[in-house]
Amino acid sequence: MNTGACHSIEEVVRTYHGTIARIAFHYVKDRSAAEDIAQEIYMKWLIKRPDFASAEDEKAWLIRLTVNLCKNQLSAAWARHTIPLDDTVLSDDPAGADTARDVLAAVLALPEKYRTAVYLFYYEGYPSGEIARILGQNDRTIRTRLARARKILKERLGDDYG
């Protein structure tokens, strides 16, 4: 039966690496750390080789796994002794010096729990109800988080961007 879910790890990486890396980046704010987390996610897929009823379920599982792993990484003892690399990573690519990253920087500066909701809503285009399902939260909670995130961004960026 073709469920649309991936059959190989290579397929998983090619299909979801962008989503996984971007979510991880929103937590750890560091490209290398995000890639390490992505690698760990792929390991878990290899170990479990889970069956999914659909590609949507597979993606939701990977997103939730990424979020949980990021939270654990951040609360681990070693993470508390690392310095966030916001500035470093934001000037990491060659165009960094010339490209203003004001909105992204403001999103990354949001409290942790708002960042994933903002990413899934604005980048991935998930409706709040779907985000709630993926993250195991109440729909109302997600809407509240999005509203609060928007409010904070507006305060930081001004009416033009907020």
Binding site: I9, P50, E58, R80, L104, R140, T141
Partner: protein, 518 residues
């Protein structure tokens, strides 16, 4: 929010560029099979329903717990030594669990839930230096004599107003609905109900349930978020302790015919449109236990099982008081009933929840200072049982996600308060602290209230010092692993700006309302 700018800036990082993806593919393909198999051995796969009692895992956990425990002690002692600052002290050797894995949605997972996975995270003791700042104070209704928050979540609060106090025999005369923007609407019910209660439903709705003493009829009023009230016809039943919200604006309630010697428990589904289901429950015969003689059956808590059914516990006692016992029932979506009689002396009350598998997990207080964690499947068979190592009076045990949070040591002077984290296997992690170190008082009575958050919980302590006639509120916010995140103390005898928590009969007068502490 400038969506296009955000997406553009994120894309510019190139996290999913061709090179990045190829590098990721290459990295994962270099992982050899031995590594995967070694990791797989750490993940125990059990057939569904089988008890997770495997010894190798326990040995592994034991070794790990010992290592982590030693590290935890150092982690606690060193900062204490360095800064000489009061801090909670870990008293259990239980390691902090991690939750780095999520089960596939809609897939039946036979793996031991990740909550019991060996820990890679040490307890993190945070000094009490982070004040709670995100508080919204709301003005009470004008000319109100007495107000009490009946329910609060992160979007709104329902406040009851009365001339004197609010309690079982003193129902609120008016209900007020607040959002962070202020008072939205008020509702004055047409009749004062006694033996009343208010239940939050889905969609920010509420059910007000109570008894009209003159007619002995139960009534229910449904209030939606706009303040529209629907009064349902009364029914001659006695309800059980609690109602269960449905997925919309209605509720389920298990009720008994009132004042009849032969009990008949009936499941009622009540919505703004009326009573939509009324199903008398037919219990199967139990070959190991027969009920003879007349009895009454009461109490109990219905909990939705997530599949259209319910778990329900009831308490039976013969009229001649010769015996009493508790039934545990499971009512499936087709309304057929599984039953286990006499699960323990006490019903599970609030200390229970339904797991992702649809099992009922509960912590039962089987004696004054004796607790047991039990898990039942839909056939009411015990699939897990473990004595919980808490040899003290526990003030409350509250379900929190996949685990339980307990508080002990309340209610008497100079008793350290203990927070308990009871994981799904019944292992206890305990933090003990002296309240005096927190709020500088010899408190005589401390009554905590539990407020659930999606990333932790809040305890609101209602503290009353008899000697000093001082009364105040202390609020602490914790994450899922009992790590204190922030705290604050409000009010004293000089300050009438008391904070209203979700607190019963506290004698707190009007003034402010503590909003959700998110």
């Amino acid at each position: 929010m400038d969506k296009e700018r955000y997406i553009g800036q994120l894309d510019a990082l190139g996290l999913d560029s061709g090179d990045a993806v190829e590098a990721a593919v290459e990295r994962i393909q270099t992982v050899d099979q031995d590594t995967i198999q070694n990791r797989q051995r750490r993940v125990m796969i059990l057939p569904p329903g089988e008890l997770p009692a495997a010894e190798p895992r326990r040995v592994w956990r034991g070794v790990l717990a010992a290592v982590v425990s030693a590290a935890a002690v150092l982690a606690i002692l060193v900062p204490l030594w360095l800064v000489n600052m009061p801090a909670p002290a870990a008293t259990s050797s239980e390691a902090q669990p991690s939750s780095d894995e999520a089960p596939p949605p809609d897939a039946v997972s036979s793996e031991i839930p990740p909550d019991t996975a060996p820990s890679e995270t040490l307890p993190d003791i945070i000094p009490l230096s982070e004040p709670i700042t995100d508080i919204i104070w709301l003005e009470p209704p004008k000319d109100a004599e007495y107000c009490q928050i009946l329910h609060v979540d992160d979007t709104h609060a329902l406040v009851g107003e009365s001339e004197t106090s609010i309690g079982t025999t003193h129902p609120p005369e008016v209900y007020h609905y607040y959002t962070p923007d202020g008072l939205q609407w008020s509702y004055k019910p047409p009749v004062l109900f006694y033996d009343w209660d208010i239940y939050p439903l889905k969609n920010d709705s509420y059910a007000l349930v109570g008894r009209d003493h003159e007619s002995n009829i139960e009534h229910i009023i449904l209030l939606d978020r706009q303040g529209n009230a629907t009064r349902q016809p009364g029914w001659p039943y006695s309800r059980n302790d609690r109602v269960t919200p449905d997925e919309d604006d209605g509720l389920y309630v298990f009720a008994q015919r009132y004042n009849l010697s032969k009990n008949l428990i009936t499941l009622l589904h009540i919505t703004p449109r009326g009573i939509e289901e009324e199903t008398p429950l037919i219990f199967p015969a139990d070959p190991e236990f027969s009920i003879s003689g007349s009895y009454w059956e009461s109490g109990g808590t219905g909990i939705a099982d997530g599949s259209g059914g319910f778990y329900l516990s009831t308490y039976l006692e013969y009229h001649d008081s010769s015996a009493s016992f508790t039934r545990l029932l499971h009512i499936d979506a087709n309304r057929s009933v599984s039953m286990k009689i006499s699960i323990e002396k006490y019903s599970f009350g609030d200390s229970a929840f339904v797991t992702e598998k649809g099992n009922l997990r509960c912590v039962l207080t089987v004696a004054e200072e004796q607790h047991t964690l039990l898990e039942f499947d839909a056939g009411c068979h015990v699939v897990y049982e473990k004595d919980v190592d808490i040899e003290k009076y526990v003030y409350m045990i509250h379900p929190h996600g996949n685990i339980f949070i307990g508080v002990s040591g309340c209610g008497s002077a100079n008793t350290p308060i203990q927070l308990l984290r009871i994981d799904e296997k019944g292992e206890v992690f305990e933090i003990s602290f002296d309240f005096k170190d927190h709020v500088m008082t010899d408190s005589n009575h401390v009554h905590p209230e539990f407020v659930e958050l999606d990333d932790g919980f809040i305890l609101i302590y209602d503290v009353w010092e008899f000697d000093n006639e001082r009364h105040f509120i202390h609020v602490e916010r914790y994450d899922d692993y009992l790590r204190l995140r922030s705290c604050a103390t409000f009010g004293d005898s000089e300050d009438t700006k008391y904070l209203l928590g979700k607190i019963h009969e506290s004698g707190i007068t009007r003034s402010g309302i503590l909003w959700a502490l998110e």
